[in-house]
Amino acid sequence: MAEAGLRYRKERLDRGIKARSDTIYVISSYREILYLVLPRVLPVIGLLVLPLVLRGYWGKVLVYACIFGLLALSWDFLASCGMFSLGQALFFGVGSFFAGALNHYFHWPPILTLPIATLAGGVFCAALLAPVVRLKGIYFAMITLVVPLLFTRLVVATGVWGGSHGLSNLAPFTNEWIPIYLAVVAMLVVLFGFRRIMNEDYGLVLGAIRDDDRAVMSAGINIYWRKIQALFIAAVVGCFAGAFMTHQYQFVGPSVFALDYSILPLTAAALGGAGTFAGAVLGSLALVPLSEAMRALAGLRITFYCIVLIICIIGLPEGIFHYIQRKYQQFERLTEIG
């Protein structure tokens, strides 16, 4: 192979079916339609059927995977707008505390607290981070890293919302089917919604802010306002995940701002492949069951995530999803050099 490597190089070409189905305007053949539709429909059907198969403990794991999928999607959305967050726990925690406090102090049922916590949390997070949208890159990352960690200390120190003991005995979901399908459907809606948004004009602007914010500014677009909007969208998704888990656990405490909720979505997105949203979902569906299987390792789990994350970023920077996508759409062959 070594000699072959000298005279030949690998070449990647789009498969014929990809080239044909890229520009389908009319129904041409079942093969091409299936080529387009199957990768989208099969996972959806799979995810909708899974709750019927997985009961009890592994059903809970599926819910967990979907919630982390939501957080990873929210991370990926921010990253596609050029905002690199190290603190998804902020969104998660704010949503949790809104839902927990509404339920604990006003005894509102989950059907009210979920939407209110989601929206109010989104507004709160967007307002909180609004001054920070002027920052880019690692400066933004630093702020998002520090804020949830300081919030943990704030809650513990001041004793608001139950302090370090948290609020317990919150209202659970009444029916076991509600949470599992709510989580799965929410994740699917967000996944396809985000992919759609990024292909619309609106998303093009957001993507352009990531690529070259000066150019977007010179086009007369207020990038800070757009970034705040993107923050709101991402925060809504993260807050929903938090509010959901509050009712699932029937508990909320300062641990909702913990690093787990920041580092796991990040790992999932890095493992699955950032920028595609499907990668984020794929990553969390792979990581969360794996981490459940490693529950025996207890504290070592986070160490494990970190090592996976480092290996992924250095060794496999494109992520699983990009790899699969490439294999699906292209083939490789050796061509002679020269």
């Binding site: 690199f84 190290l86 001054p131 920070v132 002027r134 920052l135 880019k136 890159g137 690692i138 400066y139 990352a141 630093m142 702020i143 890293l145 520090v146 804020v147 960690l149 300081l150 200390r153 704030l154 120190a157 001041t158 004793g159 690093l259 580092i263 990040l266 890095a270 207890a298 504290g299 070592l300 986070i302 160490t303 995530y305 970190c306 090592i307 994350l309 480092i310 970023i313 250095i314 920077p317």
Partner: protein
């Protein structure tokens, strides 16, 4: 009032110690070393292990700890960061993950409680005016001053120090003058990590050595660096004095549980009026805002 002054100064110097290695490494190589908190605790833990498992004298274990931690920083750069140099976000994630991996590993090993405790250098204390201060805190003050002076001389008057500044100011020009940026970057991270170990050995005797302290260190280091301006050592010192005195004053007049508000408020305030930090000079606007 006198005690406010004294303890405010001490708190400020402690914060400066936290931020020193972080700020220095960033100022030179442009790598925000989020593993700083992890390296801090690791430095303390290495010193403790050598003292307690191998029964080495204090000075020897401290020296070994500083050198080892420095080498870990070097390896972190040479082994991991070099491969992703130029992608700032990947750098952040890798150092962040490495730091958490260290901290969580130590936490899993059971690093908490009074069992793990570095000894103070000199027991006892002294009264200044009417305020009791123990010697350890005074030593921290003195060491801080000495270290600051040493760093200033090092960065301004030695060859490596000048190379550090050259890389920080303009990497390409420095390259064309024969300063190898990979080597200097790795050295800067090694120096930053060694400084983390030094500050761990100075500060940990005043409290307990826990893995969670590592997060605290990272938070304060980042907060100080953001407020002071990431690249500027002077800005870092000024910021640690602002936050340090702010914290002691809040603890005195409002309640010690509100101390955590101070860094948060300082960050929010500084971002609103001067996003590049108090004395952030290089790369001022284009990159950040």
């Amino acid at each position: 009032m006198l005690s406010l002054l004294i303890y405010g100064t001490i708190q400020s110097v402690i914060l400066a110690f936290y931020a020193l290695g972080f700020s220095l490494a960033y100022g030179i190589s442009g790598v925000a070393n989020f593993a700083h908190g992890g390296l801090f605790i690791l430095g303390g833990f290495i010193a403790w292990s050598f003292m307690n498992y191998f029964h080495l004298p204090w000075f020897l274990s401290v020296a070994i700890s500083v050198v080892l931690t420095g080498m870990i920083g070097f390896v972190l750069y040479w082994g991991l960061l070099l491969r992703i140099r130029g992608i700032p976000l990947a750098e952040v994630v890798v150092t962040f993950a490495a730091g958490i991996a260290i901290l969580e590993f130590l936490a899993w090993k059971g690093l908490y409680g009074f069992y793990y405790n570095l000894p103070v250098f000199v027991k006892g204390g002294i009264e200044i005016g009417s305020v009791a201060v123990d010697y350890q805190r005074l030593i921290v003050l003195g060491t801080g001053a000495v270290l600051a002076a040493f760093l200033w001389v090092f960065v301004h008057h030695t060859k490596i120090g000048l190379a550090f500044r050259g890389i920080a100011q303009n990497e390409r020009t420095a390259l064309s003058l024969g300063i190898e940026s990979d080597w200097i970057g790795a050295l800067s991270l090694a120096l930053g990590s060694a400084l983390a170990a030094v500050s761990a050995i100075m500060i940990l005797p005043m409290g307990v050595m826990e893995a969670t302290v590592g997060y605290e260190v990272l938070i304060y280091a980042v907060a100080v660096a953001i407020v002071g301006g990431l690249e500027s050592i002077l800005g870092m010192v000024v910021a640690s004095f602002i936050i340090g005195f702010g914290q002691i004053a809040v603890a005195r007049y409002v309640g010690s549980s509100w101390m955590v508000i101070v860094p948060l408020a300082a960050i929010a305030f500084i971002l609103a009026i001067r996003p590049s930090g108090l004395l952030g000079k290089f790369k001022e606007l284009e990159e950040r805002v």
